[in-house]
């Protein structure tokens, strides 16, 4: 009978293949998601350790290089001789037609390199260092990958520091959203009845008020004297106060459909408490949907923060975020003369795009049996 036993076991193996394994297989097949995932990881890594990756400090001013355009990275000098990675120093000249002060490449070379020493910084508040991943070999060299702003600060470095705020902001806000959405959605779906009605009406209510004006109003109500950190935290709470509805709906829907499943009823009958039933039996069975819902709401949070900060109602200087960096682009004239100030927009779009790709892959993967 041994061959039959083996065959019988074989019959079962397809159903036994773990859910998480199936999800990973399915996720791997989503090419865009597989591209997006490493990019997201890289972006978070770079912005988290932005002191190391940024060539300059976000607040150091290069006084002679206000509104300086980006310098192109080159390998050969003006005569075509190979000199290694370098940029040419910008020099200020008058435009012969408009008499406006503009920058042009001079012959002077600023050599670039990896793991160079620059201005000292305190790494994540832990220890002092001056080691940088990439930058001018000579300390304080005028290297502006993405140009400078009107105060002569290196935009690329500022974008990396702004990314730290904008990207972490999304995570902090999502954490609050997760907490509120899971709690209220869980209560709504599990208890049902009156609690469910109230929470559902609350969701209807919040969803009927246009989001950005509501964010703006709540953000504007924050005291002007509040510290940067306080503002950062409160802004993320405001975002989650409005953003929890989607997650709560997912959680409620899933709980409603699972509540009647045999394994839940069995747990209830054997005397498990409500909390235990939710935590041990319900949550694990729809964790994947929660992850999908959360990933899907990260782009919205990033866009919301940047829009509000851009309008001057969110995070404010001296806090650097991608939104506050874009504040400089509000007039057509500024845009026309310093188009490089739109670089933060590129980072916003790429980030949101990558999160959307990843979210899409996760959505496919969440239903591995489909």
């Amino acid at each position: 009978m041994s061959a039959r036993k083996r065959r019988q076991q074989q019959d079962g193996t397809y159903e036994v293949a773990g859910q998480w394994k199936l999800m990973w297989w399915k996720f791997k097949k989503h090419r865009l998601a597989m591209i997006a995932l490493p990019i997201i990881v890289i972006m978070y890594t770079i912005t988290m350790f932005c002191e190391f990756f940024a060539p300059a400090l976000p607040l150091s001013r290069f006084r002679d290089f206000k509104d300086c355009p980006p310098s192109a990275i080159r390998l050969r000098d003006a005569d075509g001789n190979f000199v290694g990675l370098h940029v040419r120093l910008k020099e200020s000249v008058r435009d012969p037609v408009t008499f406006r002060k503009v920058f042009a490449d001079s012959d002077q070379i600023i050599k670039l390199g990896f793991f160079v020493h620059g201005e000292p910084y305190r790494f994540l508040g832990l220890f002092d260092s001056d080691l940088r991943f990439f930058g001018p070999v000579e300390k304080g060299g005028e290297f502006f990958l993405m140009g400078t702003d009107s105060l002569g600060r290196d935009l690329y470095s500022r974008i990396l520091f702004g990314g730290r705020i904008s990207l972490s902001f999304a995570l902090v806000s999502i954490a609050f959203t997760f907490f509120i959405g899971l709690t209220l959605g869980g209560i709504s779906g599990y208890l049902g009845g009156f609690a469910d009605t109230i929470i559902q009406r609350m969701i209807d209510l919040i969803m009927s008020i246009p989001g950005i004006p509501l964010w703006m109003a709540l953000a504007a109500a924050l005291p002007t004297t509040m510290s940067s950190l306080g503002k950062y935290l409160w802004m993320s709470i405001i975002m989650s106060l409005i953003g929890w509805t989607g997650l709560a709906r997912v959680v409620r829907g899933k709980i409603l459909s699972l509540r009647e499943e045999d394994f839940v009823i069995a747990a209830r009958l054997s005397g498990a408490s409500h909390g235990r039933v939710i935590g041990r039996h319900l949550l694990p069975s729809f964790m994947s949907y929660i992850i999908v819902s959360i990933t899907a709401s990260i782009p919205g949070t990033i866009l919301g923060e940047t829009a509000l900060s851009f309008l001057g109602l969110g995070l404010q200087a001296p806090t650097i975020s991608w939104g506050t960096l874009l504040q400089d682009t509000q007039t057509v004239e500024a845009l026309a003369l310093q188009p490089w100030l739109l670089w933060p927009a590129f980072f916003i779009i790429v980030t949101v795009l990558m999160f959307n790709f990843a979210g899409d892959g996760l959505r496919d993967a969440a239903d591995p049996y489909k």
Binding site: M1, S2, A3, R4, R7, Q8, Q10, D11, G12, Y14, E15, K29
Partner: protein, 347 residues
């Protein structure tokens, strides 16, 4: 089995394979049978055995990733345009020939009438549409046909019902309307895919009686798909037992119940609960689960669940269909051994 002229539909080695990401899923793997005029063929099997896919294959309605092979020959005489017999497999699945066959020559009744009707169109609208396609293009006349059809399937007050939406009708009523739609174009073959599974027992009996009456009145041939052997006994002339996309046993209904040859058929028959016959008050069930029909190993598909399986024989190369008795086909290498007195059987 019978005189050749009587056969109106013949399936020869029909295969439906689905190209899935994980591999090739052989939903229907070499099915052959024939249907005679005015007769009922029952197809029986557990869920997932390929019986519904077979019926969709007859309509040449398959998803894009489905591959259809073999021959499905339609020997219909009274419609002019086409050469007889037509091989449905070779027709363009969206072309005019197949569309004239669908609903015109072959019609279908589905398992869940609620889902099979569009919820936002009236029942009448959906029946009239079929009539206009195949029988009567004039809207007014088509409506009259629809109303008389609804009356003939036993719907009271059809003039009013014709303008109602599916969800306004009861379950049994919806299935009657479905039958009316299927028969409205006077097809010669009716495929009924588990038409009573979603209905109450009393309504089930009524619908089955209705189908039998219609078969008598219109002379329609019926392919009756079900997992319920009791219904098969009541409805069919011939029976095909399917397992994992293959026909395991194919014979007349009497042969099947009195002389089942395949261990799977025997097990199916044993699992019918009979009052007073159940041992120790337990239902008999077939041990194990149906294997996932993908990348199947060699040998008989029922090997892993068969009580009489012989290692080295049944798990080796494929098992062929043999005619054990005249008109009684079985796909089992050991049927002669098992057929001997005292070995298995319906004891």
């Amino acid at each position: 089995m019978s005189i050749e002229q009587d056969v109106i539909l013949r399936l020869n080695d029909v295969k439906v394979h689905f190209k899935m990401d994980e591999g090739l899923l052989k939903a229907v793997d070499g099915v052959s049978f024939e249907i005679k005029k005015g007769k009922t063929l029952g197809i029986v099997g557990e869920s997932g055995c390929g019986k519904s896919v077979t019926s969709n294959a007859i309509f040449n309605i398959l998803p894009k990733y489905g591959l259809l092979g073999g021959e499905i020959l339609l020997y219909e005489k009274d419609r002019k345009r086409l050469e007889r017999p037509i091989d449905i497999v070779k027709l363009n699945p969206t072309g005019p020939e197949i569309r004239s066959i669908r609903g015109g020559n072959i019609a279908m009744i589905f398992q869940e009438p609620m889902k099979a009707f569009s919820p936002i169109h009236t029942v009448g609208n959906q029946i009239i549409e079929a009539i206009q396609l195949h029988v009567e293009p004039d809207a007014k006349k088509a409506r009259d046909i629809a109303i008389s059809m609804l009356r003939s399937v036993g719907i009271a007050n059809p003039e009013q019902r014709v303008d109602e939406y599916p969800h306004q009708l009861s379950g049994g009523m919806r299935q009657r309307a479905m039958i009316a739609m299927a028969l409205s174009c006077n097809p010669s073959i009716l495929i009924a895919d588990e038409p009573t599974t979603a209905l109450d027992v009393t309504v089930q009996a009524q619908v089955l009686e209705l189908i039998n009456n219609l078969k008598r009145d219109f002379g329609t041939s019926i392919i009756f798909i079900t997992h319920d052997l009791g219904v098969i006994a009541e409805m069919s002339d011939d029976v095909a037992v399917m397992y994992l996309g293959k026909i395991m046993e194919y014979c007349t209904v009497d042969e099947l119940f009195y002389r089942p040859l395949h261990p799977y058929t025997q097990a199916l028959l044993k699992s019918i609960p009979t009052p007073g016959k159940t041992r120790k008050g337990r239902f008999e069930s077939i041990a194990g689960t149906v294997p996932y029909p993908m990348n199947l190993p060699e040998g008989c598909g029922f090997f892993s669940r068969c009580d009489y399986a012989a290692e080295g024989v049944c798990d080796q190369s494929g098992t062929d269909m043999v005619e054990a008795y005249p008109g009684h086909f079985v796909r089992c290498t050991r049927h002669e051994v098992l057929d001997a007195p005292g070995q298995g059987g319906n004891a």
